[in-house]
Symmetry: C2
Subunit: 237 residues, 2 copies
């Protein structure tokens, strides 16, 4: 029976064997939510990069590209757009390449190696993510981007939601992170946004006026695209 | 208002500023439980060491000492006793020095530096630990030894229990680990042992027949001694 495990922080990723497993990269506020929205709305691909300078440099070389990224809740100097899932409607993003830099997400993505598939997961593309994994029946690591390596609530809740689906559909576990995350998900599920309002990242981003963005990120399957990371690009299939 | 934070794994300890804070070292199964029991039963002091060879070497140099430690649930070769809180009744341990090596606990203890006080906490000495911190009103880090750096349930629950007491008595927090641990503690509290029976460490140690030991470790205030780590020795005051 395939196993599911949850890694609560990039600083714990070295404890997990990723070889030939399906790894889900999770950064609910807001990288993986924005990625799901942009690809579902027709973006050709997303290139995740870890610095603003690399974002500018790749954007300059590639026609039809848009550079995007925030620092402290504002569009970073030199970039064109922010890291909000609401900024990329289809009339704007269709057919384009998004070059995206994020605070926590990209660094984790770069750390994942040897996996069979790397998926990008968020509540916005929950079912597409879970269904792909259920069909595969291959060991899964749900990897939370967290906040500067500190445990965070929203990524853990999403990991719990996916783990619960997998445990109902042929997966098993022996991992305290899975126990706790699925239990938290059961508590949070009836009103996810209300529950998440008390998290440290919510309080941090609220200072930048991003409450509506975070409420958007709590919608299940709003942009239900399967997102895979292949050849250093995020695409949907 | 002083703050309380929870560090879920030694691999995350570098994210926390320990300087002049009160740090509680937590290894419920079973190092900090055994430490509380032995000191409460009259041990003069406990010297924690990280290897079996160091344990043997210190024990050989010190009269009135007992060497103790387990590997895979059995007394390690060359040592005299195990890592069970039930092995150290007062008629045996009173006035003696215990030289103790553990799998997860000692390594974490060695990592803590710059703290105002270092305490050793377990359910067995819950109130003594919490009351000391409440009297101090100094920032607190609750540091879980975990299992080989992986998140574990029992240390997190104890941290949640202490955090809840502190939050009721003059402390504040903005830490998702505290949110989650206090919530889990509320769920587990009515029947701690039943709840913990489902944890990965419980299942692991059960293979060595240690269920009764773990049930013993779930008793609140059974050995309610305040335990401090000073000059590389654990003592009670």
């Amino acid at each position: 029976m395939p196993k599911v495990e949850i890694c609560l922080s990039p600083a714990l990723l070295h404890l997990y064997d990723l070889e030939n497993k399906n790894v889900v990269f999770i950064d609910v506020f807001r990288a993986t939510s924005t990625i799901a929205a942009a690809l579902h709305n027709g973006a050709k691909q997303i290139i995740p990069v870890d610095s603003v300078s690399e974002c500018i440099s790749i954007g300059a070389q590639m026609s039809g590209s848009i550079t995007a990224g925030e620092r402290d809740g504002k569009v970073a100097d030199g970039l064109q757009h922010g890291n909000s899932p609401t900024e990329y409607p289809s009339e704007f993003i269709e057919g384009k390449t998004l070059v995206l830099t994020t605070t926590n997400g990209t660094r984790l993505l770069y750390m994942i190696s040897g996996a069979k598939n790397i998926l990008s997961g968020s509540f916005l593309n929950f079912s597409a993510t879970a269904q792909f994994l259920i069909k595969e029946q291959v060991d899964v690591i749900l990897a939370c981007a967290s906040w500067k390596d500190r445990f965070n609530l929203e990524d853990t809740l999403f990991a719990g939601a996916v783990a619960e689906e997998l445990l109902k559909n042929g997966y098993e576990h022996n991992c305290d992170s899975v126990r706790v995350a699925t239990q938290l998900w059961k508590i949070a599920q009836p009103n996810l946004f209300d529950y998440i309002k008390d998290s440290s990242h919510f309080l941090r981003l609220s200072k930048f006026g991003l409450q509506a963005d975070m409420e958007y990120c709590c919608q299940i399957d709003k942009h239900n695209a399967l997102v895979l990371y292949e050849d250093r690009k995020l695409i949907t299939k």
